[in-house]
Assembly symmetry: C2
Homo-oligomer: 401 residues x 2
């Protein structure tokens, strides 16, 4: 029912054009991205919970809150336009208005977004000239350029699309996203933009997105930080002619597909976390409550001592248990079992006797699953994180310079 499209992107969705260019915010790398829909779209969004909210989010949140129809998403990287005061807000308004004008749209049909350094004003001359160029450059095959242009310290561009077979035909969901520091649930300097050619009413679109985000982007952590600029936006243009109604079979299929693509996007962000050498899946099972499973997974995903041990391929299960013990969750440490992939590391009553070499071999892979069974109940939660390397420090010690 669901198939990933090779080299797919947001422009794999019918009627969605995109582009990515350099406009001079960064020296050479692409730094300006535009997603454009041929027709008006319903739009849903989730935004950072940080009290410090960047200027573009103030504007874009209002569009979503007022349930406006949307035609374009304009994103710059290299400058977050956060903590920039009234000048920053005026620049964000200008950025939106100028782009709308160039595309022949109303200003509130354009969602805007920024990512990069905090506390510096946008170089408006470069940006406006960039908007001149990019508004003429959008095309049906340039989703990957758009994905490239929203990157900051990401090493890989992140672009995805899935075909979804519904009862009476096929729809596509496409998306682009970026990480890779300040990644932490409830958004992070994490941007994700998705589009679909299914037809979905705004309220339902928002519900679908919120649920999918909770099971994906809100379960990854690179460093426990949440940024001022995070947002996930999903737009629909109905081009497929297929409508998704609540409580239908198609609704279930679409919801599952949306969650799947969001999870793949989220995992791509975790595995490309700053300095990361591997993707770590934290799977907590047999918890008394869902919340217990969730806070333990989160505590482990955020533990610097666990993440550094993973970097050293060190089967230091004591740190895993210690992180769980700090989480506040209700469980009995003596009942816990731990596995790395299929290798049993810890059995009840702290019984351990695994082969260190075998454990090291598993941890040396670029994709490892750490599972804990609490043996308290039936609830589960899965999170994704990465290891913590010297490279993370190098990247972040001198980010501005």
């Amino acid at each position: 029912m669901l198939q990933f499209i090779e080299n797919g992107s947001i422009s794999s969705v019918q009627g969605i054009k995109a582009a990515g260019i350099n406009c001079g915010i960064k020296k050479q790398k692409k730094d300006l991205s535009l997603i454009y829909s041929d027709v008006p779209c319903n739009a849903a969004g989730t935004f950072t919970l940080n009290k410090v909210i960047a200027a573009p989010l103030v504007i874009s949140k209002e569009i979503i809150t007022k349930k406006k129809k949307v035609r374009a998403i304009l994103v710059n990287s290299g400058n977050a336009n956060a903590c920039t005061g009234e000048t920053g807000l005026a620049n964000a308004v200008k950025m939106q208005q100028y782009c709308a004008e160039k595309l022949g749209l109303q200003h509130d049909e354009v969602i805007i977004s920024s990512t990069g350094v905090i506390g510096q004003q946008l170089p408006m001359q470069n940006l406006l000239a960039g908007i001149d160029t990019i508004s003429g450059a959008v095309d049906y095959c340039k989703g990957n350029d758009a994905a490239e242009a929203i990157m900051t310290t990401d090493k890989k561009k992140k672009s995805f699309a899935v075909k979804v077979r519904l009862l009476k035909g096929e729809v596509v969901i496409g998306g682009i996203c970026k990480g890779s520091g300040m990644i932490m649930p409830n958004m992070a300097t994490m941007l994700a933009f998705l589009a679909t050619d299914a037809s979905i009413e705004q309220a339902l679109l928002q519900e679908l997105l919120s649920e999918a985000v909770n099971e994906s982007f809100n379960k990854i952590s690179v460093d426990g930080e949440t940024s001022t600029n995070d947002m996930v936006v999903l737009i629909e243009n109905g081009k497929s002619g297929l409508k998704i109604n609540k409580n239908s079979k198609d609704y279930e299929i679409f919801k599952s597909a949306l969650t799947t693509i969001c999870r793949e996007m989220a995992k791509s962000i975790a595995s490309d976390g700053e300095g990361a050498t591997k993707l770590i899946t934290i799977s907590i099972n047999k918890a008394k409550t869902r919340k217990d499973a969730d806070v333990i997974a989160r505590a482990i995903a955020n533990s610097p001592l666990f993440k550094t041990a993973m970097n050293g391929n060190d089967a230091n299960w004591g740190r895993i248990l210690s992180a769980a013990g700090n989480s506040g969750a209700d469980f009995v440490p003596e009942k816990v079992t731990i596995k790395f992939d299929e290798l049993s590391i810890l059995k009840p009553n702290y019984t351990n006797g695994f082969n260190e070499e075998e454990a090291k071999k598993i941890l040396s892979k670029d994709n490892v699953t750490v599972s804990l069974d609490l043996n308290e109940g039936e609830e589960s939660s899965t999170w994704w994180t990465c290891d913590f390397s010297e490279e993370y420090i190098k990247i972040n010690a001198n980010y501005r310079t």
Copy 2:
């Protein structure tokens, strides 16, 4: 009224002997420490809040809870005796009983403590032989040896003593402690042992210690981790003949002195955090509530992005504000001002225009104060932390090997 004693230690307190030796848990470094009081002492303690509690803490907590008189504190480093099940508990009991026997005491007159690797059994033969040796080695001048023997990844031994002038004479408070990973409020792999020759009833002693710990050890963070083994213990032997009564002038003097020595001990732990190159004081002022000040200070002290920027001497104030924004505290970001020592970095409405070179110069020191004024009220909180360096990763990626 208060004077630090040069090269002072826990054995600077009258009637307190100490020793530190190698008993073979570690290869060569000292790994066994004994503090011994000539007379019975009241004892107070605070312990880890981690749900995973090491075996020695189970035993030592009970002594404090039952308000037993104490004569000795035995501590080993190199092995935490945590997550070691029934064998671990039996070993802890044996360790306590054997030490009591050698010293001619009841088993519950001996507090025990362990720090080091989690999940391995203590090498009991070495340990018991060590107890044979150390029980004959305690002396009135060996507090610094004891301080050395409780170190794990600490680079410097941590030993302090203060003379406190009361209305009718002088008392001494002496202490030793260790860090240096998993440091986080509500204790961390942080051990601190203090003694005083003042005479103080157990209930008051516990109250004094709890309050002092809240203002010192509970306000430091190296990596946001809390260990399975943390404890702070304070014993009094009354040797000075001076009694501290609640609500007296002496009580205020003693309380302030105890808080001061605990703060110095806590700061010595933060500044010697794993891989740390500097001590960072986070001072939050003019908050609406004490709690707001506290959660912001804590959020900044724990932020990897802030701590890596400090490592790179990068005046990245956006990360400071972003961490504050994530803390959950009630404040208006636009009203915040930030200083590094006396240099103004940010004024209200995100106004900044500081000299980058000057900021770099301040941040390059090994002792920096970052102050935020929220301009919301009159409450304050101060925390201490360190920077986050590549060295931290190196130390922790291969801790067990």
